[in-house]
């Protein structure tokens, strides 16, 4: 492997890892703050991807086009969706056992899949890469790297930094962290914890949906895509330490590297390498890399 190939593979690894982080961060956020195991998180990713597909013609006829307008509308819609779902379903789950949470959120997966099937059918769809991001960077004579993938990495990185700043540097972040450790205490200080949870949940949904929207042009849009991403996201969360955003970040990048270079150097085993990594880390640190709280 020459140096150009190696560098491009590193870019591939980081891009995949960052995208995984974006999906997994919502999952670990909702668990870390509210203690809810949300199996339907993959569905939010799928909903995002389908929104990118379905909204593009609508948004372009109303606002005269633009991928970024689609992203904006999609984020607003998914925040609303998250807010309503929290109010209607998830707020009843906070003090339930994990088994009950798993059963209900699994039920939601089935509902979302059925709704998707009714509304947009079972076909596979593609989403166009926006024109301004459609080019490729030439690196060496045959080697190129799609600009859009750099954009995906940039969006993910920006969100990661944004989340870090909100949690560590703002009053909102402080209240959320406090709410995660002691709900009653925060409530008795006069903070509306119910509203806070609703905001966090809506943010988690929006982040997953945004990941789906951003990924749609490079991953296409197909039934069952949510369940596929959910499995690998659970691996990210488990390796990183359940509830830890920092852990999810590190774990997602590790998986990006292991998966990418595994496919290249050990293609026969690439399917199991990620799980071997998980097993190895859990043997060494049974609670994952960064235990939350």
């Amino acid at each position: 492997m020459d140096i150009t190939t190696f560098l491009i593979q590193c870019l591939n690894a980081v891009q995949y890892g960052l995208l995984l982080f974006l999906v997994a961060s919502g999952l670990t956020l909702i668990f870390g703050i509210m203690g809810v195991i949300n199996l339907a998180h993959g569905s939010f990713y799928m909903i995002g991807a389908y929104m990118a597909f379905a909204l593009t013609p609508i948004v372009s006829s109303v606002f005269g086009g633009g991928f970024f307008a689609v992203l904006l509308v999609g984020v607003v819609l998914s925040v609303l969706l998250g807010y309503v779902l929290e109010w209607a379903f998830y707020s009843y789950l906070y003090n339930r056992e994990h088994l009950q949470q798993v059963l209900m959120t699994y039920g939601l997966i089935l509902v979302f899949e059925e709704l998707r099937s009714l509304l947009v059918g079972d076909d596979v769809h593609g989403v166009q890469v926006p024109d301004i991001l459609a080019g490729t960077l030439q690196l060496g004579d045959m080697m190129t790297y799609p600009v859009y993938r750099l954009f995906v990495s940039a969006v993910c990185l920006a969100l990661a930094v944004g989340m870090y700043l909100v949690f560590t540097r703002t009053r909102l972040g402080m209240m959320i962290r406090a709410g995660a450790s002691n709900r009653e205490m925060v409530q008795s200080l006069g903070i509306d914890i119910q509203f806070l949870y609703r905001v966090v949940f809506a943010a988690g949904v929006a982040i997953a949906a945004l990941a789906g929207m951003v990924a749609a042009p490079v991953s296409s849009v197909y039934p069952g895509m949510g369940s596929q991403v959910l499995i690998i996201c659970f691996v990210v969360v488990v390796i990183g330490g359940i509830g830890s955003i920092k852990g999810a970040f590190v774990a997602a990048l590790m998986i990006g590297v292991v998966d990418t270079f595994g496919k290249v150097f050990l293609p026969q085993a690439s399917g199991v390498l990620v799980y071997l990594l998980m097993a190895g880390i859990l043997l060494w640190k049974p609670d994952g890399l960064f235990k939350a709280g």
Partner: protein
């Protein structure tokens, strides 16, 4: 009293003795056809197309096959190999079907074939391409109206070499169908003087191709062979284009790469060459008539799956006619089919000794929203049926 009863008894017995054979002679029992196809999930549309094709042929025959009226029994196989044995047993043991039609997923079809072989029930497989079904697992009562995975792979290998490409990389999912098609390709390509220089794969149904595309760019083969289907095929073809590879390294594949996916693949698929036993624009009288009838009946365009369903019904009709509707006579059924020529919309084909179609593999080029036929990649190609002792 006694005489009266005896008299009445004799009368009833005589009437019954006359009536029963008479009713049998008038209408033979209906032929029970068991469909084991996906009705839900990603492959649902394929299952529908197969059933439509089957029913279209049946309608053309006035609703009868081998002189018997047809009664349908259906189970949704959910494309789940782990449920296949249960599902096929429902049809065989509960519904007592005379013939099994199924399935789409190779794994399900394998499990079906295993049960059909041990129970001796007639089975026609209208899609699943696993080589073993008409290879090492072949049986006198098991037939295929579709293809073996080896066939389209081998054919496109020959076509790629004929285009003057000397080196190739292969890229597929690591599972039975991917392995078998890539193996067929390698055999066809290397027999014609080419050399496979890189074999890439990733676990099914993973769709993160970027790392492997970088490897292809770095290896610089003359051409690339790929097998993917459905959502994975859409993404692969688009990624291949957006990685900038399409301009320098032509992309080849088996037909599944571009069948039913062209809408989503858009301009990325233009010019991709694939091989399959069916294509758009065959423009033969037989195919045109079929396409018109299908479109009229079902208000949609037929595809390769509809053709396979149609031909499954045709094969069943031909075989049953030879054994006068007796589906238990699998020896006679098989003997007739192996001698028969099936007048398929894809073009006439015969059935090999291992019960797989000996058929033309078309070379198709994506042009607009169609897989246009541009030639024949391999004429009357017969599967080697390794391990079959029929």
């Amino acid at each position: 009293m006694f005489t009266f009863n005896t008299y009445r008894f004799t009368l009833i017995a005589a009437a019954a003795a006359l009536a029963i054979p008479a009713s049998y002679a008038q209408a033979p029992a209906k032929l029970k056809v068991g469909f084991m196809l996906p009705a839900t999930g990603t492959f649902a549309a394929l299952g529908t197309a197969i059933e439509n094709g089957f029913r279209l042929y049946l309608n053309e025959q006035g609703g009868k096959l081998g002189g018997r009226e047809v009664e349908f029994f259906k189970v949704d196989d959910e494309s789940d190999p782990s449920k296949a044995i249960d599902n096929v047993n429902k049809l065989i043991k509960r519904d007592n079907v005379d013939v099994l039609i199924g399935s789409v997923h190779s794994g399900v079809a394998m499990a079906m074939a295993r049960v059909a072989k041990s129970s001796g029930t007639l089975m026609i497989n209208p899609n699943g391409g696993a080589d073993a079904i008409t290879g090492s697992m072949c049986a006198v009562n098991i037939f295929r109206s579709s293809f073996s995975n080896w066939q389209p792979g081998f054919a496109i290998g020959q076509a790629m070499a004929a285009k003057g490409h000397k080196t190739a990389a292969t890229i597929t999912w690591k599972y039975a169908a991917g392995d078998e098609m890539a193996k067929g390709f390698k055999e066809g390509f290397e027999k014609a003087g080419g050399k496979v220089t890189k074999e890439l794969n990733l676990p099914f149904p993973n769709v993160e191709f970027q790392a492997l595309l970088t490897e292809i760019a770095s290896a610089k083969p003359d051409a690339v062979f790929s097998f993917f289907a459905g959502g994975g095929a859409v993404k692969f073809v688009k990624d291949y284009d957006s990685a900038g590879l399409k301009k320098g390294i032509p992309l080849f594949g088996t037909g599944f790469l571009t069948d039913g996916t062209l809408d989503a693949q858009g301009s990325s698929a233009q010019g991709v060459l694939t091989s399959l036993h069916y294509a758009d624009g065959l423009n033969t009288p037989r195919d045109n008539a079929f396409r018109l009838a299908y479109a009229k009946t079902f208000k949609m365009q037929p595809d390769v799956y509809a053709v396979q369903g149609y031909d499954a019904a045709q094969m069943l009709g031909v075989g049953l006619a030879a054994v006068k509707g007796d589906a238990k006579n699998t020896e006679g059924f098989a003997a007739a089919l192996v001698k028969a020529t099936i007048d398929s919309p894809r073009g006439k084909f015969t059935i090999s000794k291992a019960h797989n179609p000996i058929q033309n593999m078309y070379l198709r080029e994506v042009s607009g929203k169609e897989n246009k036929v541009v030639g024949i990649a391999s004429k009357s190609l017969e599967d080697p049926a390794t391990g079959c002792n029929l």
